[in-house]
Symmetry: C2
Subunit: 498 residues, 2 copies
């Protein structure tokens, strides 16, 4: 069985279409669980945020000059000016692939530190997500409209909007620091590198800027997920690893779907065993990503250290119990920690309407090759670029540019390249986060810093502080504040020496 996953933080997960695919053939390519569906769940009830929404008339195409590229669209951004006064810093969140409100709600760190810095908080929505749709409901219609969705246009949006905002606030001397998590963290780091005249520094949390081309091994991500489980319990890892085979075996049986539907307590009968596989897969991957040290509700409500809790469930079964059933029980923690579900809508979340945002990006610039090694707890799989490209061509009528991100933003030999170039970037990563293997994990220079925690997960530092936060997390945030303060002090000192 093979699977070519193109998965990002809360990006579209694309799964093997069928469990009956023989091991040496390659899966088709279609969206499984989706980011939007996750958001839908996560943001209910919608949090009350201390922000005011604004809409900026943004240029559609910054890099060509044609009558149609001068078209404007309304880009949403959120403002909190409660602590700010003219001249004080502006902290900008460089929005990633989704509704900006959701990122604002899950980046409490910025709100927590705003009073200390008297900072203006700005969360800018990424084009083609949330309400920032350049072509309204037609935005995802085809390559003709989606063509304008990419990271370089997004960075230029940020540049134009920030410059304009400072002008409107008559606060052009305010230093800007950009913040971002996950893809947003990549954008924050790249923004500092490409627009140093606009942002004096960047805090890029869990930004896997090295996940492209051949910079890191393609199996890194799933090896890391597996390591999280191995670290808790070898048995747990082996049970999950063995469960795929059991699932595959079922799929060849008559009545398999009915049996599986019952075993997985689905609300409606399953149409494909692949759905069950995707459902399990999602649970393990996302639980590893949000293996937070405190109870949290980012993707789903989960207990502290949920990987540990999943493995407790698996390890409690008698040793002869079917692996698939144990994996199901563990995955249920992810989907039903709050015990609100009587049954699972396993296939319900598949919705192909308007969910092409990140999928489009992975089919054009964000080509992130992923494989599953034999050592991972997932079925081994390769990455066939030709097939991937063909599927993108079929789907969107465009071919990916697999080397473009590394051409435009670099990444190869990053420690040598940035050793003598650039400054003021923090790359923060938690090693529990499988994306951390694509991150910058060692200091590059005196001011391009890696802050790495052993027990941290996906941009845990960006979450609101809680009374239960462990010391290492408190310390990580303290260091971030200290470094940002240093950037600001330097900036103001430079201004004074005009």
């Amino acid at each position: 069985m093979a699977s070519s996953l193109s998965l990002f933080f809360l990006f579209l997960i694309t799964f093997s279409a069928t469990l009956t695919t023989p091991a040496n053939s390659l899966p088709t390519f279609f969206p499984g669980a989706t980011y939007q569906s996750l958001i839908k769940q996560a943001k209910t009830p919608k949090p009350k945020l201390p922000f005011k929404a604004h809409y900026f008339p943004q240029t559609l195409d910054h890099f060509t000059f044609q009558p149609k590229s001068s078209k404007l669209f309304y880009q949403k951004y959120l403002i909190n000016s409660h602590y700010w006064h003219k001249g004080a810093p502006i902290f900008v969140y460089t929005g990633n692939e989704g509704d900006i409100e959701w990122f604002a709600a899950n980046t409490g760190f910025m709100l927590d530190i705003a009073p200390k810095f008297k900072a203006l908080l700005v969360f800018i929505e990424h084009r083609f997500y949330g309400e920032s749709m350049p072509f309204g409901k037609e935005s995802y219609k085809s390559a003709k409209t989606l063509g304008f969705l990419n990271s370089q246009q997004a960075l230029a949006d940020f540049a134009v909007l920030i410059r304009n905002l400072k002008q409107n606030l008559s606060s052009e001397a305010s230093p800007v620091v950009v913040f971002g998590g996950s893809y947003g963290g990549m954008l924050a780091a790249w923004f500092r590198l490409k627009y140093p005249h606009i942002a004096i520094g960047a805090l890029a949390s869990s930004a896997p800027i090295l996940q492209f081309d051949k910079i890191i091994p393609w199996s890194s991500f799933y090896d890391a997920v597996s390591q999280d489980f191995k670290d808790v319990s070898w048995n747990c890892y082996e049970v999950i690893k063995g469960s795929w085979e059991e699932l595959e075996a079922m799929s060849t049986q008559k009545e398999a779907l009915a049996e599986l539907s019952k075993a997985f307590r689905t609300c409606k009968s399953l149409h494909s065993t692949a759905s069950a596989r995707d459902w399990l897969w999602t649970a393990f991957v996302y639980t590893a990503m949000v293996n937070y040290p405190t109870e949290a509700n980012f993707l789903k409500p989960l207990p502290a250290y949920p990987v540990q809790e999943m493995c407790k469930i698996i390890d409690k079964f008698p040793s002869g119990a079917a692996k698939l059933g144990r994996s199901f029980a563990a995955a249920s923690l992810y989907y039903n920690y709050s015990r609100a579900e009587n049954c699972f809508e396993i296939e319900h979340e598949v919705d192909t309407h308007g969910l092409h945002g990140w999928d489009w990006q992975t089919c054009t610039e964000m080509v992130i090759p992923m494989t599953c090694s034999k050592e991972s707890m997932f079925p081994p799989s390769g990455f066939d670029y030709e097939e991937f490209a063909e599927q993108c061509q079929m789907k969107y009528g465009v071919l990916p540019r697999p080397h473009w991100i590394t051409t435009e933003f670099g990444g190869e030999r990053i420690h040598k390249v940035l050793k003598r170039f650039g400054s003021n970037i923090i790359f923060s990563n938690g090693k529990q986060d499988p994306w951390s293997r694509g991150g910058v994990l060692k200091n590059i220079s005196a001011s391009i810093i890696a802050l790495v925690t052993e027990k941290g997960a996906h941009h845990v530092d960006f979450r609101s502080a809680t009374k239960d936060d462990p010391d290492w997390l408190v310390e990580q945030r303290r260091q971030e504040v200290e470094i940002i303060q240093k950037w600001l002090n330097e900036y103001y000192a430079d201004v004074r020496h005009a």
Copy 2:
């Protein structure tokens, strides 16, 4: 009389359409002398260059992903591999607004230093110039095609081409240094800033990256031209300054054109006094730019220090002589130093076919406001952005983005922004060059260096060394070589410490 000039190195000069425009109204906007026409003269006979031409299949639009933006075009580049071996440095000239052969012929410095560094020389042609026409003969047809002509696309071209070339040469470890003069120098500096992972350093000669927005006074350029003449002879400056009025007075007389045609020894009768004005203007501006210390043939054959020679001509006349006649005599040095002309084709050079390249760029991104102050030797004039924008809209159907270059590349407070960001750029300037006032004239950091010579003119350091070169020029080039050597030493040391 007012004139809104948008002039760059050898960029389109746009002149006041008529000399009869009253002082408080604004000129229309049309191309006068053109870069291409200058090249045509300059490159006859075509020099034999030690380069081989190649053509790279280049992506039309790097920043959108649409079926049509994947269109490829053939981008020309020149290679000299005579001194090179695998792993040795690659010196790339980032081509500017014209035929790449012409830049190669006038950047002998790179050939001069290639043996010392065992460097591969690569001259890359800028898209939409020379033979690198994405839409063949239709390339300049309208905004639909011209839309893809801009500096960001050009920089991405360089990045893609260089990366591909290194791969094809199996020499990915070769350090790349970029070189460029004038607009090409801007591109070289910007390339190092935006693509530090591709170029380890940049030598940007006469690159007026601060000539945008409100960074420097808009009158800087013409004030500097005037200063060149003032410095040689106050009388010379006053004669030129007074000649415009005499020309204007003539234009109201009957038979003025016939008289002027005779006085200016035109081959064909003039249709407009404005042509005579443009012709004089061009001579003074370009002579200031190429006020080289040795006899040279860049734009035209000229003696050493041609501004001095022009002023000698003017100062030799008896003091009562008409100023216009003296200006004409001085300008004749520019047009006829080789004494090959029996008459002047003053209006001949106006050719509106296919010359929109730079004009398009100034109408979109390269908005360089220019005015003539009362202290200049040109008629005072302002810059009316609204009118300029309207003319661009009429001409191309697009509006300029006057703040885009400073948003994309910065420039404001550059000494503070780059003090703690970036490295390995030399900004070289000669103060005779009127463009130098838009250049970086002071060191920014330990490795972003300004090399300024009092007597240098427009990228004189890039010209082939001659036995007559003054000491200051020899010394400037020596410093450039020394600094580049330092970059390379650092690079190789970093590689060894892998």
